[in-house]
Symmetry: C2
Subunit: 351 residues, 2 copies
């Protein structure tokens, strides 16, 4: 068992950085596109054997130090009563914008939310020789999609609802929090060895708004993995938001072991600013750097590796992999991370 | 002539903050929608009498302290050979992604770019009793649209091209810079009394990428308003980017009189960090705050006004007005700004 990822995620300043990439499974891989020709996204996600196969594809091809379950942050929503189509981005059949809309949602039992996820996790644990990361969308980010109804640049409907109907927003966030807690616990109970909470759109909000509608609900989901909410978590907890450098101090208050930074928030200055409040940092290569010609990925990767020195660092992208990426560039990235010794002197010599 | 805006834009710590709002003319106004039923966007923009009328509408209704020319940042592109449709967001008929695409673009003469803009400015100067702000899109932001071809959440095509073809990106930015310089000078020559450069999507990039592809070109456009590039500008220069708190130090190096901040980048902490490097700050109410119920806009506006104390402050939104806004909320905003005395003691008493 390769436990490099788990050691770094618990705060160890490891000899080399573990590497996995957000959205490492998916459209950039020819073997995924092959499966996708025969199955819809929901078929892949809801058939445990297929979800496990897609999860394994990048681990086999690249030798990643961790696997992340192939699912979408929308996975738990249908069991709540919210149907989601992928067109190809997630689209809600009936956005939640009124009390009547809210009344159509319910909190499912833990084993009702996504039984196919638990089954996929069990299958994967038999196969994998690296840790398996489970994940969920944070309540604020799920609410963003549920209200807006689809992806958007600035989510004006949702941001307007926070002002016009804060009571409705909080009621929706409550339902999502309770569901997310159960969904996260189901994943860990089935065998997930780490858990990443995706608060992708938290960065849309100023700090006061995030502290009102985002942070308290994210905290509850993360605390629920600590058993009684006070004890240490059974698995390391990772948290990511995008375009959210202005919220760093609020993130430092979350019960997390790893904070994942996007490509605009430098690892080195953030580590200084966080001053030990978060055990490990993850990130943060610009996903667009993988679109450059051969050779340029190595330089960009080395810059991130150097900025990650001085504490626990899990190498990753600053956001999800773009579908246009050539797998040869991902190989260049992974080779570079594996060849970069993080011990002083060694790191200098190679960099 | 109400010169409050111009004094604050030159760095004066005025008794009250001048107020104007990005996208104050446009879809949130019933009188605009009335005109829009009869004319396309391009008809409104390209007919000087209509463009002037739309520019005047919010000044008449709200008593704004400045008018901003009704146009789009796309306005100069057709004269370069790039046709733009509004569907309703800007869409390029032929995105620029290759040398052959680039060869279809040219730098127009100053009086060819948008003669209807100069004419609208002359009409407006006869009518207006407040300063008229001209504007243009910054080269980086225009290139973002030209390459991507339409609005997008993260502009992957453009960000990929910066890595795959930096030479092509720089060649495109050169053409856009030269055109923008001529377009900006044409506006000032016709009578624009201030100039705002919109670098809306600069915040997509990390600081190194912005310093390579954004800052040098923005600087050249802004410097061109200083005559020989070294002298003081004939008009105050304003600069805005969105989601760009991580670029504050790079912005401080631009030859500008006013930096406009978005709603996630607080005025007070930014003023401290800028330490006098920019004479005035503008912003930064969250546009979504105008979607709240009556009464809540006053509180949100007061918070921004208080954060703006301690130096020159031009009240504005943190980004453009949303089309859903009720004009009554804008009145509440304007009344609050007008009633807030910025002299010590007075400000406290009212806040």
């Amino acid at each position: 068992m390769n436990d490099l990822f788990l050691r770094a995620a618990r705060g160890a300043d490891t000899d080399r950085a573990p590497v996995w990439l957000m959205r490492q499974a998916g459209r950039h891989l020819p073997e995924y596109r092959e499966l996708k020709r025969k199955h819809s996204f929901w078929q892949l996600a809801r058939t445990p054997e297929l979800a496990a196969e897609v999860t394994l594809q990048p681990v086999r091809r690249y030798g990643m130090d961790a696997a992340i379950l192939f699912q979408d942050i929308m996975t738990p929503l249908p069991a709540m009563g919210a149907e989601v189509a992928f067109t190809p981005g997630p689209t809600l059949e009936r956005p939640i914008r009124s009390d009547a809309d809210l009344a159509t949602l319910r909190v499912p039992q833990q084993d009702e939310i996504a039984p196919f996820v638990a089954e996929a996790i069990r299958l994967l644990r038999r196969e994998l020789e690296v840790p398996l990361i489970g994940f969920a969308g944070a309540p604020l980010t799920l609410a963003t999609y549920l209200v807006e109804g689809a992806g958007s640049k600035e989510y004006p409907t949702f941001r307007g609802l926070l002002r016009a109907r804060p009571d409705l927003a909080h009621a929706l966030l409550e339902l999502l929090t309770e569901t997310s807690i159960r969904y996260a616990r189901a994943q860990v109970a089935a065998g997930a060895q780490a858990f990443q909470l995706f608060d992708s759109w938290a960065g849309l909000h100023d700090e006061a708004t995030y502290r009102t509608f985002g942070q308290p609900y994210a905290r509850r989901v993360l605390q629920a993995l600590g058993g009684d909410g006070a004890g240490p978590s059974s698995v390391p907890r990772l948290y990511i938001a995008v375009g959210a450098g202005h919220l760093l101090d609020a993130f430092a208050e979350l019960p997390i072991e790893v904070l994942s930074l996007d490509w605009r928030t430098p690892l080195d200055t953030s580590r200084r600013r966080l001053a030990g409040r978060v055990p490990a940092l993850q990130g943060n290569l610009d996903p667009a750097d993988l679109l450059g010609p051969a050779g340029t990925v190595r330089e960009a990767t080395l810059r991130v590796l150097r900025a990650g020195l001085g504490g626990a660092h899990l190498f990753n992208l600053g956001h999800g992999m773009l579908p246009q990426v050539d797998p040869a560039r991902v190989e260049e990235l992974v080779d570079t991370v594996r060849g970069f010794g993080r011990r002083s002197g060694d790191a200098e010599a190679r960099a």
